[in-house]
Structure formats: structure tokens, C-alpha cells
């Protein structure tokens, strides 16, 4: 009798435990499959500063994602130093707009030459509704890291996120595509990030960090490799983002492209440029920041940037070329951080030098144009015509 009772109790406990784990498993799958819920969880967990928070190695994203905190080799102390440009005196006729990414997000206004005002909009993180000053020369720089270029320029995405502040009626034109998207919901019912989300929900806690550090260090010291989304460079001195060297990823510098794809990007870039010029921008620039592998391990480079920067095909845009000076630099390693996807202070200074030279040139042109024909007035007329 007692034995039967204990067997029955044991079976009940087993059943309860089973049901509990089924429930937990289903909840995990559902949550990890929902981008909306994951956004909330990530935001909540990012704010935590305890064992349930997220691991973050300050300043170097690749060291952070590969958990190589205990390996000193990839850690450098490189920090951006922004000085006011020398001989930046005289009139300031430029309103500078940058639609870019994390490469430029730390640059202060004071680092730019000849500008009256500076407006930065970070792609994928924020939208901007601009309102141009017709009395100034409005310059737009579309900056993008090479790894995002193929996906971004496959469509005319920029215009959906960076657009003129307009009254309700005229904004309908721009909200057109959103209406169309809403009518055709995405058929994919599974989040492509479900495994990453599950990893975040199951193992993405600081109390696991020591175990992850141990694996990362073991892999590095045993095989000279990094774990996760980072790859150790051929010379062993730096980390690269894995997707920038993958064989089958459009972010990769090694993934070949077809001419058809390039032609489509030209079309979209020209359309984007024409749109902004019609909207009142005086000049539109394109600046593609090369992936570190493009410059530092160029043997299998697909040649995307030189292809995209052909002046014959990009008729209305100017180019702020970083590929040529970077690839010709006698010590290109100094241009990128060793444990980060981004460039170093040397890299950003080279970019600023090029941009400031352009800004000065544009400023001088604005001054001479104003002196000869009244620059502000003509622009004001053009702007008014566009809105009628």
C-alpha cells in the first residue's frame, strides 16, 4: 500500500516536472521568436547592472562579442581626439546633414569646418525630419560602412527614414510604401534570430561570463581563433567581424556580386540623390567606409567600393573616397582598431581631413556665389517652387 502510494507520488512529481519544463520550453520558444518581446527584454536587461545584465567590454565590440576580455593582445587604448580644424575662420555658410552609422556618431560639431549647423541621423536607429535653411548651403553626406552597403542600396531606403518635415497632406506621398507593406504582411512566421534570442535568454547573463571567458581563452590559446562572430586576422594581430569575410554573406568583402546588382545600386543611389536635390540640398555626397578586411586582407576582395564609386555612373553625387587613401596608406593597420569593427582615431582623422577640405571648398563657392548672384535668394525660390 505504502509502496503503491510512493510510486504514485513519484509519477505525479514526474508529471508535474515534465509539464513545468514543457511550459518553460514553449514560453522560451515563443518569446525568442518575437522580435517585439525581445526588444523589450534586451532593453530591460541592458539597464541592469547585476549578474542578470549583459556582458559588455568597453570600447571594443569584437573583444566583447568574442568574450576575449582575458586576452590583452586585441585591446588597445585608442580613443578619438577631435580638435577644432585649423584655419577654420571666416563665414560659415554650410548646414551639414549626415545620414550615417556608428562610424560617425561620436564626432562633435566642432570637428567640422565652415559649418553653420550640424545634424546627424543614425541609420536604423532613428529617423529624421529635416527643415532646410534656404539661406545656407545645405550639404548631405550619406555615409555607410561597406558591410551595410549592398543591403541598403538594393532599395531606396534612405528616403523613408531621412526626409523633409512636411505638412500632413504632402507627407502622404512618402508614407505610400508603408501602406503597401502593411497590406502584405511578412509571411515568415519564424524570427531569423531565434537562436541568438534563445542564447540571450538562456546564456546571456553575466553570471555565465567566466565560463564564456574560459572557452574563448582556451580556443584562442589552443587554436589561435576567436569564438562567436569574430575572426582572428591572418597575422594574428587583430579581430575582424566574421560576416565581413564570410563566403556567402552580402556584408562580406569577399562575397562576389553581379553587374546587375551594381546597376541596381547605381539606379537607387542616383534616384536618392535626385530626391534630395529636388528637396533643397545643394550637394549630396556618398562616403563608403571600407570594411577592415577590405584594406588589411585584400587578397580575395570583391572590389565593391571601387565599382560603386565610378563617377560616370553616379552622376549627381560626389564621392568622399576612403578606399583609395586607406588602401594606399603605408601602414593601413593604424587606421582601424585591433579589437573593434570600427576605425581608429587615425582613420576618422583621415576622413575628417577629406570632408573638411570639401566643406571649405563648398563654403568658398557659397561665398562667391552669394557675392555674384545672391545665393540665398535663388535657393529660396527653388525651395518654394518644390513645395507648390
Amino acid at each position: 500500500m505504502r509502496t503503491n502510494l510512493s510510486i504514485s507520488n513519484f509519477n505525479d512529481v514526474r508529471k508535474i516536472v515534465s509539464v513545468f519544463f514543457i511550459f518553460i520550453g514553449l514560453a522560451l520558444l515563443l518569446i525568442s521568436n518575437s522580435d517585439h518581446l525581445m526588444e523589450k527584454i534586451i532593453a530591460g536587461r541592458s539597464a541592469l547592472n547585476n549578474s542578470f545584465g549583459i556582458h559588455q567590454f568597453p570600447g571594443e565590440d569584437l573583444v566583447s562579442i568574442s568574450y576575449l576580455d582575458n586576452v590583452k593582445r586585441f585591446q588597445d587604448k585608442d580613443e578619438f581626439i577631435f580638435n577644432k580644424p585649423v584655419d577654420d575662420t571666416g563665414s560659415r555658410n554650410i548646414d551639414l546633414y549626415i545620414y550615417g552609422d556608428s562610424y560617425l556618431m561620436e564626432i562633435p560639431d566642432s570637428a567640422f569646418s565652415s559649418i553653420n549647423s550640424y545634424h546627424y541621423c543614425r541609420r536604423s536607429y532613428q529617423d529624421m525630419n529635416y527643415s532646410l535653411n534656404p539661406h545656407k548651403k545645405n550639404i548631405l553626406i550619406i555615409e555607410i560602412a561597406e558591410r551595410f552597403a549592398r543591403v541598403e542600396f538594393e532599395l531606396q531606403e534612405t528616403m523613408r527614414h531621412f526626409k523633409k518635415k512636411q505638412p500632413e497632406v504632402s507627407s502622404l506621398r512618402l508614407s505610400g510604401p508603408s501602406v503597401i507593406y502593411a497590406k502584405f504582411p511578412d509571411l515568415d512566421i519564424f524570427s531569423p534570430d531565434v537562436n541568438r534570442n534563445l542564447e540571450f535568454n538562456l546564456y546571456g547573463y553575466r553570471f555565465w561570463d567566466q565560463v564564456k571567458f574560459a572557452k574563448a581563452s582556451l580556443t584562442y590559446y589552443l587554436f589561435k581563433r576567436a569564438v562567436g562572430d569574430a575572426v582572428v586576422s591572418d597575422d594574428g594581430n587583430r579581430l575582424f567581424l566574421k560576416e565581413t569575410m564570410a563566403e556567402n554573406d552580402r556584408a562580406s568583402s569577399y562575397y562576389p556580386f553581379e553587374q546587375k546588382e551594381i546597376q541596381k545600386m547605381f539606379f537607387n543611389l542616383n534616384a536618392t540623390c535626385a530626391y534630395y536635390k529636388a528637396d533643397g540640398f545643394d550637394e549630396v555626397y556618398l562616403s563608403i567606409i571600407p570594411n577592415p578586411v577590405t584594406i588589411l586582407q585584400p587578397l580575395h576582395y570583391n572590389g565593391l567600393i571601387p565599382q560603386l564609386q565610378q563617377p560616370d555612373s553616379l552622376k549627381c553625387m560626389h564621392i568622399i573616397d576612403m578606399y583609395d587613401p586607406f588602401s594606399k596608406d603605408p601602414d593601413p593597420g593604424r587606421l582601424f582598431k585591433t579589437g573593434d569593427t570600427h576605425w581608429s582615431n587615425n582613420g576618422i582623422q583621415l576622413w575628417l581631413k577629406t570632408v573638411n577640405a570639401e566643406l571649405k571648398k563648398q563654403n568658398l563657392q557659397a561665398v562667391s556665389k552669394r557675392n555674384s548672384s545672391g545665393y540665398g535668394l535663388s535657393n529660396l525660390k527653388k525651395d518654394t517652387a518644390n513645395h507648390q
Binding site: 515534465s18 519544463f21 514543457i22 582556451l218 589552443l222 581563433r225 569564438v227
Partner: protein, 463 residues
Amino acid sequence: MSFISLQFLVFFMVVTLGYYQLRNQRMRISLLLAASCYFYMAFVPKYILILGGMIVIDYLAGLQIARSSGKSRKAWLIVSIIANVGVLAFFKYFNFLFGTIEPLIHWASPGTDVPFLKILLPIGLSFHTFQAMSYTIEVYRGRQPAEKDFLTYALYVMFYPQLVAGPIERPQNVLPQLHRFQEYNRNNVREGLARMLWGLFKKAVIADRVAVMVDYCYNHASTLSSGSLLVGAIFYSFQIYCDFSGYCDIGIGAAKVMGIRLMENFDEPYLSSSISQFWARWHISLSSWFRDYVYIPLGGNRLGEKRRKLNVLFVFLLSGLWHGANWTFVIWGGLHGMLTAFLPGKKQNKQSNSFLWNSLFTLVNFGIVTLFWVFFRSPSIKESLHYLSRIFHWTGGPFYMGLKINEVWGSVLLIIFMLFRERFRKSYFIKNGLAYASYFVVLVIVCYMLGVFNENQFIYFQF
């Protein structure tokens, strides 16, 4: 969903626990079928429609074959075969066919646009179409009664542990097991889990580790030393073995946990001393499928030696084409076929059976198989020939040129460990509780610390 993913880990836990909570076989079948649909849809959801359509056709064809007689019976078999081969041909060989005849079309009509499909091959298509065909053929041959329950038949095709990369099962093995209610058996669960863990070790620790070096060798064939390229080729032999057999171990183990026994797909193939022996031990479910449904119906060895050789060659060419729509696979199959058909069998005498001779034959056979894999791995014939010519045109230089020497030797040690374990400890069942727990803990730690987890798909998923 890949077996090497957290999604699968959670999915497996939920499905297995749910399976044993249900006390009714019909409900269990429904649960497994729903789980298999989820598993398949985690790759590309819409392709479930193709699979579903094929299941309906084959299910109806099976019933009609069983009901009818004479020509009508044969007609239903033909309907089933045409439907399966048609879908396979459309998705897998359409572009291959038009790519092959493209120069001819351009020559005949310059400027004509050759139509190419911009679609992804439904994952595991070659596997489940072959499994479905084996059902209708067996029903036609009268060796298997037609399955009346649609859900059970659908589960036979879709059973998630073998859905996307085999083993290509036979209805006689699986269907009766699906009808039987499996009581919870602790030994099955322990054995199944141990086997799954071993499969994880082979895939994550060996296959994906050597894959990094193999990829490097194949991407730098023009610059690396012959020694490095040879190392890359040898490592690929183990990559593909550990990748595919690791997948099968996880699949067979997962089924075993639920008390369902799937057929074995590998039997130490690299210890074979001839090509024909290799094929009796490599991807056994596919070899036996071709033997039963192509080679024997073509006449097998009953119509004379010449015809036998032709049949063997044909089957191997077909097997090559089955693996992929590329001439590299056809050549790979053809080379295996030629050696199987034309090489004389090993003489069975005292001398040839000695350990020394056997070892020598095994080594030579492994070398041949390894060189043939170069065609399988390379994206084009030109690149295969380039890779092989770089190996044979000995350039000198260290064998680890471009590779990380610790990783090379570490991988060699892991491979030797794997070969020894599979040679001398075939069973996955460990009776002693403490020994089992130790095995489990040690293997989990080894897999975690030494494994490469980068969401690499299994090589055979593409077929």
C-alpha cells in the same frame, strides 16, 4: 531547424516530454506530426506546402495501388514516381539542365534569355522524395500494406529525426513502430541521449573545427603548399564523415529516446579495403535504396558481366547526380562507379586477409576516396582539377602552410579518438549510472569548450 542549435534543444525537450505525457498513440502521432511540421517550417515555411502536396499524392497512390490490380496498379505507381521525380527534377535539376544547354541555346539563337529559376531548393527534398517512393514501390511489390491512416503515413515521411538528411527509411521498418505504443523505457532514453551527444561531438568538435581549415585550403588552393592541400583534402574526408554521421547519430538518438529504432547509416566506412566495401558502409540507406529500386530492377548481376558493369556505372552516376545538380557530383559518382565496376574483387586468401595486407588496402582505399572527395567539395570541375594538380605537382613547403599547427594536431588527436571510440565501443548504452553521468558531463564540457558553434548547416542538408 538545425540539430546543432538551441532552438532544437528546447524543441526536443518540449516534444519528448509531451510525447511521454500522452497515453494515446493517435495523440502521440498528431503531436509528432505537428512537431515535424514546425521543425521543417523553421527552415523555409512555405516549402511545407510542397511536402504536404507530395504526401497527399503518395498517400492516395498507395491506397489506389493496394486496391487496384493489373495496369491500373502500375499506373498509380507511375503517377507517384512521376510526381516525386518531377518535383525533384523541377527544383533541383531545372537550372542545372538549362545551365548545361545554355551555350547550345545561345549558339542556336543568339541573344535569347535562358530561363533560370530564382528559388531555393526545399531542404532535404532528395531524402523525403526517395523515402516516399520507397513506400509506393513497396506497396506495389506487395511487401507492405498500404497505410490507411493519413496522419501515420504523413509522419512516416515527415518524422523529424530523419526528415531532412535521412536515413532514408523503409516503410517496413518505421510504419509498424509508429502504430505501436512505446512505453517509457529508461534505457532507451539514456542510450538515445548518449548517442545524440556523440553526434554533437562529431559535428561541433570535429566536423566544424576541421571545416575552418578545409575552407581555408580550398579558398587558397593557388597559394598553399601541396602538403597543406593534402591535409585539407584528408580533413575534408573526416569533415564530411563527422558531419553526416554526426547528424545521423543525433537523429537516430532522438528517435531512440522515443523508443523508435531507425536504420543505421554508417559502419566505419574509412576502414573499408575496397570501394565496393566502402559503399556497403557509407550512407547505407541510400546505397541500399539504389540497389533495391534501381540496380536490381535493371537486372543487377543476372544478365552477364558486361551488363552488371553497366548497371553499376549507371547507378553510381545516378547517385552522383542525386547528391547535387553539378557535374562535379556526376564525376565523383562516375569515378566511384568505374572503380566498383571494373576493379577486380579482392582475392580471399590467407595472404590478402592478413593484417598487413588489409591495412595496406584500407590505406590505399582511403587515399582514393579522399582524392575523389575533392570533386565533391569543389564548386566546379576546373577548381577540382586545379586543387588536385596542386597536390600532385609537389611544391614543397610545410604541410601546415597557412594553417594553425596546434589546430592541425589537435584535430588529428580528436579524429583518432573518434575512430578508436567507434572501433572499440560500438554501443551507446552505459548501464552503470555513475559511468553514464560521467560520460555525459565530460562530453558536454568537451563539446562546449572545444566545439565550434557558428550555425553551420549540415553538408547533406543541401541535397
